[in-house]
């Protein structure tokens, strides 16, 4: 019997190829999206899971609200790891690292290699993160001063096929280090990816200087909540001496003034998706994307499922006779339900097969856009197949259940006598389903447009600086930093080099924070500071609003001069800021140096747009890490070649490296752009599937009404009248769908936009446009069918049946 079902199912599919194509292709696309999203989620949630005991590892952070400045940072201070190890019985081990934010040049004999990401780590690091050692001992590798552990890849780059163990590595022409370990790149993902580790076991006993990352691994069975409480209390005591020294008040007084300061813990496995902290080692993922993609996959599968249900029931007239015959020949309702479910499962399985091929087809593009490295046939392919089989079976049962129960309920006598009026039932349900489908499509269309408007808004937003003619070059040696000012003229000899300047960081980098005090005020303020050189504003095209820019002739080396951005002026809450005096700490003991505020500049962006512009203080200082050249827009390549040539003469030890400033900053936008691109693809897919279903459904509607159309034509109806009649119904459904789609999208879009510190006002146009687009799609799809039906010969129509 089962064989018979399969046989009939396959033959029936073969006979109704157009229908089968719509169904199977639509479903295959839906399943492909689902599998892709599944793979993506699997990848995104796999972070840190490869570390031994990862669920007991936490990273500390700081959450503070000081004088209205909110801070949520992943950083911690130097002595914290030691405190964890010595004062908390619940702690198995703790480690402290410092991530180097610049690429580092290392050298072995004559081979020079730039390392993208390096870390200073204490000797416990490999006890928390169990890298696999090819050579060396994880317990001792980072114990000695000037030890360095390389990844296999870094070692190969620097040492070639030679064994690197015990080899001498020169760090940035500053000091020599000995290779004490070679580690494999971990198999899984982590929130950091380092190419080398340098030993750093020296502890600076200052609790308020937070430039490190501290990871703590608890003992098995330790009570996390209890531990967290103990930690907060213990560390708050630790900062007391520092607070008293710098702020001249006790911690109690500090908190009583409405300030907040606490230490936080975040499970290491949550960092990638949930951390919204400042100073992350690198850009993390975003749980919102996961929610959105799951939502889309769900919508797409619902749309494809609705196609299936709609087409099956619409076709019921055709299947009704078969049901009647089978019933008369002894089939029970149960058997028929079973038969129809078998059919829908067979279709689903064919679709699944296709879906796997589609996934293979889509994956390279997906990886490219999402910057992932996902494969279908990875070590988890079994789970993927199990998951997709489950979805497919569920889908087959779910989508097949309505037609199965609907069709099997036909009374044989009614259908065998050709009385098909009784099989037209389900029209209301079909309409409801079409509306649902169009709600889903319209939500996606509106969403897509809003996402693109937001992204283009960010793209075109005034950044406060101009980066397309500025190249940024890292300053790698102390000599270069020390003497750079005297080199300026060398570069400026070329008339295409317009300006030269330097800064401690540039837009796209991670900024620094310091404490400041306004003269005459008791309050200490954490502001963001940027060390710059003369001509910085000119090089960057930052607009001066008030006062003057830094001028060598007007300033003495012994006093400080400050330029504030608008945010800082607001934050300090001062009028006539120019001329006021600002103090900054110049040593660990709390000594303040005051200087004049000489100017105010327009706000400019340093970080991504999910971050409001920080209150920033600019000052002239030789602690700078990058040089910047503004070059003329003509002959850029030649100008860059000139700068490179001169640079290499001045600094032969480090090969010249540069980046355009707009690219550097643009990298911050990339994640959102990728997300937008992926959303666009998925939306187009969903619309195609919707349109396919509508096409199928309208063709069946036209077919069902063949006789009616024939009679109307005999009675004098014109082609256009008939087309109008057939199209009108669907147009109504699309309009109803929009009534639901608008508020849903409004809420979702508002939620998404709130992720950005700079967002567009909720636009009206996308809503109108999506409605029109949905209507156009519906009318084109339906009217092509209606046209054929309306143009058919009425005699043929009347002979029908």
């Amino acid at each position: 019997m089962f064989k018979n079902y399969i046989k009939v199912a396959l033959r029936s599919l073969n006979k109704n190829r157009a229908y089968a194509l719509i169904n199977i292709l639509g479903l295959a696309l839906g399943l492909a999206v689902t599998i892709l999203v599944f793979l993506f989620i699997n990848d995104e949630t796999s972070y840190e899971k490869h570390w031994d005991g990862y669920d007991r590892v936490y990273r500390t952070g700081i959450k503070a609200d000081m004088m209205g400045q909110k801070m949520n940072a992943a950083v911690s201070c130097s002595p914290m790891a030691t405190a964890f190890r010595t004062e908390f019985p619940d702690v198995e081990i703790a480690t402290r690292i410092q991530s180097v934010n610049q690429e580092i040049m290392i050298r072995h004999e004559q081979t020079k290699v730039y390392i993208q990401k390096g870390a200073h780590a204490d000797s416990s690091f490999f006890k928390v993160f169990d890298y696999e050692f090819v050579h060396g001992d994880p317990a001792t590798a980072l114990k000695e001063v000037n030890s360095i552990v390389l990844t296999v890849e870094s070692a190969r780059k620097l040492f070639g096929e030679k064994n690197a163990m015990g080899g001498v590595v020169n760090y940035d022409n500053r000091r020599d280090m000995i290779v004490t370990g070679i580690v494999k790149e971990p198999v899984g993902h982590a929130h950091f990816r380092f190419d080398m580790f340098m030993s750093d076991n020296q502890v600076q006993n200052v609790w308020l200087n937070n430039s490190w990352f501290t990871y703590v691994k608890l003992n098995k069975g330790a009570d996390y909540e209890v531990f967290k409480k103990e930690m907060k209390a213990n560390f708050l005591k630790k900062i007391e001496p520092d607070v008293e020294r710098f702020l001249k008040m006790t911690v109690e007084e500090f908190l009583a003034q409405g300030n907040a300061f606490e230490y936080t813990l975040m499970p290491v496995q949550d960092i990638h998706l949930y951390s919204k902290s400042d100073f992350e080692i690198r850009q993390n993922g975003n749980i919102t994307y996961i929610y959105v993609f799951v939502g889309i996959a769900f919508l797409v599968i619902v749309i494809a499922g609705i196609n299936f249900m709609n087409l099956s029931t619409a076709r019921s007239g055709k299947r009704a006779k078969e049901v009647g015959v089978r019933k008369v020949n002894g089939a029970s309702r149960k058997m028929l339900i079973f038969q129809f479910l078998t059919e829908s499962i067979i279709q689903s399985l064919i679709a699944l097969f296709l879906a796997f091929m589609l996934v293979e087809l889509f994956l390279p593009g997906f990886n490219n856009v999402m910057e992932t490295n996902i494969t279908l046939f990875n070590d988890q392919v079994g789970i993927t197949i199990m998951f997709s089989l489950l979805v497919t079976l569920f889908y087959g049962l779910f989508a097949g259940s309505y037609p199965a129960f609907f069709l099997s309920a036909f009374q044989p006598i009614a259908v065998l006598k050709g009385d098909l009026t009784k099989t037209k039932g389900g029209a209301l349900l079909r309409k409801t389903l079409v509306v649902t489908q169009f709600v889903a499509s319209t939500v996606l269309i509106i969403g897509m447009i809003i996402i693109f408007q937001q992204i283009s808004y960010l793209h075109n937003k005034d950044l406060g600086f101009k980066g397309d003619q500025v190249i940024v070059v890292p300053l790698q040696t102390d000599e270069m930093t020390e003497n750079f000012r005297t080199y300026n003229d060398i570069f400026l000899k070329n008339s295409n080099v317009l300006n030269v300047s330097r800064a401690s960081f540039f837009p796209g980098d991670i900024p620094n924070q310091s404490m400041y005090k306004l003269e005459g005020s008791e309050e200490q303020l954490p502001l963001w500071n940027m060390n710059v050189d003369y001509d910085f504003l000119k090089t960057m095209d930052i607009q001066l609003l008030e006062g003057r820019t830094f001028e060598k002739e007007k300033e003495s080396d012994s006093s400080a001069y400050f330029i504030l951005n608008e945010a800082a002026v607001n934050n300090l809450n001062i009028e006539n800021a120019v001329g006021r005096r600002l103090g900054t700490f110049i040593d660990q003991s709390g000594t303040l140096q005051y200087g004049n505020i000489i100017g105010i500049v327009k706000n400019f962006h340093i970080e991504g747009f999910n971050q409001a512009i920080r209150p920033m203080v600019l000052q002239i200082d030789n602690n700078v890490w990058f040089a910047a050249f503004k070059i003329a827009s003509d002959d850029m390549n030649e100008t860059i070649a000139y700068v490179e040539e001169e640079w290499n003469k001045l600094e032969p030890s480090h090969p010249f490296r540069y980046k355009f400033l707009d690219e550097k900053f643009g990298a911050l936008l990339r994640q959102q752009e990728n997300f937008g691109t992926m959303f666009l693809f998925l939306t187009i897919l969903a619309i195609i599937i919707s349109a396919m279903g509508l096409y199928g459904l309208s063709s069946y509607t036209a077919e069902q009404r063949t006789k009616e159309i024939g009679i109307r034509k005999v009675l004098g109806a014109t082609v256009s009248q008939i087309m109008k009649m057939l199209t009108k119904d669907f147009v109504k459904l699309v309009l109803i769908a929009n009534i639901f789609a608008w508020p849903i999208t409004f809420l979702l879009a508002r939620d998404w936009l709130s992720n950005f510190s700079y967002q567009i006002d909720m636009p009206v146009l996308p809503f109108v446009f999506a409605t029109i687009l949905a209507l156009v799609i519906a009318i084109i799809t339906v009217s092509s069918q209606a046209f054929m039906a309306a143009n058919s010969d009425p005699v043929d129509a009347l002979k029908y049946e």
Binding site: M1, K7, V8, K15, R326, N329, G330, G418
Partner: protein
């Protein structure tokens, strides 16, 4: 075999009640060949559907209560769809005017279908179907689809499908209605042959020619039996 006593059937729509069968009483014995005749709308097909348990009869008559339908001596008037389906499956084969073959099944598979629903083993199925298509002379068409057959051939397949479970009763609703006379005669002869082998046959027909093959002709008008007579051929036989 069949004992109908005051059986009615009323179709109701929102506003109109139409009585298709009005307290019909009828007895049909084992091995009989009965024709039901009458003008369009007289209730022939309704009667056949009630007899074939495709339709549920009403025991409460239009004028008096207490109708009954006894099939093989057991009351079936009150059975639900499942119960009727069980009785049907075991005892009744159906033949329709428009053949009602499933387009996706070959001749062989069409005939095999009732056996599969009756859970007969595969090898027995095969044997029985082969025997039967041999007998009705369409074995060379076994793997063809309905669209590839002539009307007469289609109806022979439909007859074979009705016969395959060896039901004691065959109900035929204008079996020759869509056939030309020569194909029609072929089918009628096939039915006669079956009847001679002991199968009870009840046939609805418009054609008095076809009716003449049967033992007894029942005339229906407005849902009531108006006359009952032996057919000419049966009279001739006597």
């Amino acid at each position: 075999m069949i004992k109908l006593n005051k059986i009615s059937k009323v179709y109701r729509t929102d506003e109109i009640e139409s009585t298709a069968l009005n307290e019909v009483s009828l007895e049909i014995g084992k091995g009989e060949f009965v024709s039901i005749m009458g003008p369009s709308g007289c209730g022939k097909s309704t009667l056949l559907n009630v007899l074939g348990m495709l339709d549920k009869p009403e025991r409460v008559g239009v004028q008096s209560a207490g109708g009954s339908y006894k099939f093989l001596d057991s009351e079936v008037a009150d059975l639900n769809e499942k119960g009727r389906s069980d009785v049907r499956k075991k005892n009744i084969g159906f033949i329709f005017q428009n053949f009602n073959l499933i387009d996706e099944l070959t001749v062989f598979e069409s005939i095999e279908l009732p056996l599969l629903y009756n859970k007969i083993g595969l090898s027995e199925c095969k044997q029985r179907v082969n025997e039967l298509i041999e007998k009705i002379g369409i074995s060379h068409r076994a793997s063809h689809y309905p669209q590839q057959l002539s009307g007469g051939q289609q109806q022979r397949v439909a007859v074979a499908r009705a016969l395959i479970t060896k039901p004691p009763l065959i109900l035929a609703d204008e079996p020759t209605g869509n056939l030309d006379s020569s194909h029609g005669n072929e089918v009628m002869e096939l039915l006669c042959q079956l009847n001679e082998e002991g199968t009870t046959i009840i046939m609805v027909t418009h054609s008095s020619h076809d009716a003449s093959y049967s033992d007894r002709i029942i005339n229906l008008l407005d849902g009531q039996i108006v006359s009952e007579k032996k057919s000419k051929m049966a009279q001739a036989a006597v």
